[in-house]
Amino acid sequence: MLGYIIRRIIQAIIVILGVSLIVFLLSQLIPGGQARAALGPKATPLQIAHFNRLNGYNQPLWVQYWHYILSIIKGDLGYSYKNNQGVTALILNRLPKTLVLVGSSTILALIIAIPLGMAQAVRRNQAFDYVMTGVSFFLYAIPAFLIGELLIIWFSFDLNWFPSQPPTSASPWAIITDPRAFVLPVFSLAALTIAAFSRYMRSSVLDTLGEDYIRTAKAKGASPRRVLYGHAFRNALLPILTLIGLSLPAIVGGALIVETVFNYPGMGLLTVQAAANDDVPLVLGTTLVATAATVLGSLLADVLYAAADPRIRLGGD
């Protein structure tokens, strides 16, 4: 298992390096280059040449990439000329809030989706299954921002149950001290993944129910309840870990939308504001950090999977 984890970590490092290359190449695509982005459209060619020389943008691409990697390792993600602040500082300020949002909504989604998917698998092709399948399709189809806006219209404007946005100055821990303000954003983000998780759980349980060891358990006279909970459920649950890892990019992308809808000051809102500001260095910085966070999250999911599944834990590779 140690071998598996080491290989998986090396793979994650390669992925993050690859993403850094993509982000670096994107920064080269800015029309007029970095200098134009920093100095504005009125800069003279002389000023641009000076800026490029000062920042090393006149060097060959691979040298620039090397410097870019070195500065990333030092924790420097570039400079936001629009905010007059380092990108790293801007992101570090926002990252915890996004992590809290993503983490709490994923847990909520699991709490709802796992029993739902199981119930659907047990009542396969009955009315309940059809209705919930319809609901899942609806949830798949509804854009994230529309869920958020509808929740605001219904539960904030009409019923006045919850605030339409968390207080902007709140610390990430406010989710525990003042959870009311977080209900709508967390539910909006969870709604995105509930459909996928419960569908997956449903087919995972169905697949497991078709396995030979289930037939064996039934043949040995185990009660349906024992077959379901003792055999099928436990084996069907494991792949969900992998699914969470695979869904992380979508969840982090969804967080970006949800943060925008609820004016929740996380990394997504930072990205959207930067995009509106044409602040390319900041957009690229958040893209890199969001991806790195996603990759580390998937890595964690895979390691947990390896630790939880005896076939991997004990089987060497």
Binding site: G18, L26, L29, F145, I153, G254, V272, L284
Partner: protein
Amino acid sequence: MQPLEGNVVPDEAILPEHEADHDAGEAVAEAGFLRNMVRVFGENKLAVASLIFLVFMVLFCFVGPHIYVTNQTNAQDALLNSTQNSPPSWSHPLGTDENGFDILGRLMYGGQIALIVGFAAAVVATVIGVTYGALSGFFGGWLDSLFMRFVDIGLSIPVLFLLIALVTIYRPTAPLLIIVIAAVSWLVPARLIRAETLSLRTREYVQAVRVMGGSRRRIIGRHIIPNSVGTIVVFATFDVADSILLLAALGFLGLGVPAPQTDWGTMLSNGVNYASNGYWWEIYPVGLCIILVVVALNYIGDALRDALEVRLQRR
């Protein structure tokens, strides 16, 4: 798809009148396969209803503006000659928006962009993904590892961040949005088709073509891709839905097509500015359009999967 016909033919061969079909060769087997596909699809009432609805929406968006003629491009004229944010009335069945544009007409106009971009992006993404995946799976070895590592890298970037980065660097127009959305969605079909190719290239009939001296181009073009057609069609259907949602998300973030053009996401984004004013006609109709079109596409994709993948049929 070998198991496909393997499952279909014996089923029908049991009936004496189909025995002739069985012997008549590939063409008839293919016709039987198609007939079977249409039958399975037709039995799914929701999918048939979805297909009818989708055809209706296409007519609504592309033929509708010729019947229900409204001004959707001249912002000045709209501001001067109609009231802004007016509720539904006889002259404007779905009211007007913040610029005085008629919303029913705008739904058609914005729907054109949503449907064209969604469909075109899915086609481009599928073509790129299928080619990439088939090459990767067929050649295998280091090329396959390199190709698939690249897909892994791409798939781990949250799509919206990448989209926003691309759209911030280049100003969005409809053609650019097609390319950008396709650029982030070809990775999944690449992986799917690679997996299919890996299993197909070891099949006897592909081996046979190779032994007979068939070129690689022929094997990929005439055998591997046609046999993956089920996977391709099902993916493409779902991807149209995904692309429409991605475009709507970009529109919502203010990164959709530039005014006076519009798309459903942009319309919704403008509408929710007035959510606290209770201007429901600027939110619900367009929201419903997005949801229903995407639901319809998902139902169609689901039915196609059942119809094309016999493995899942009649269990």
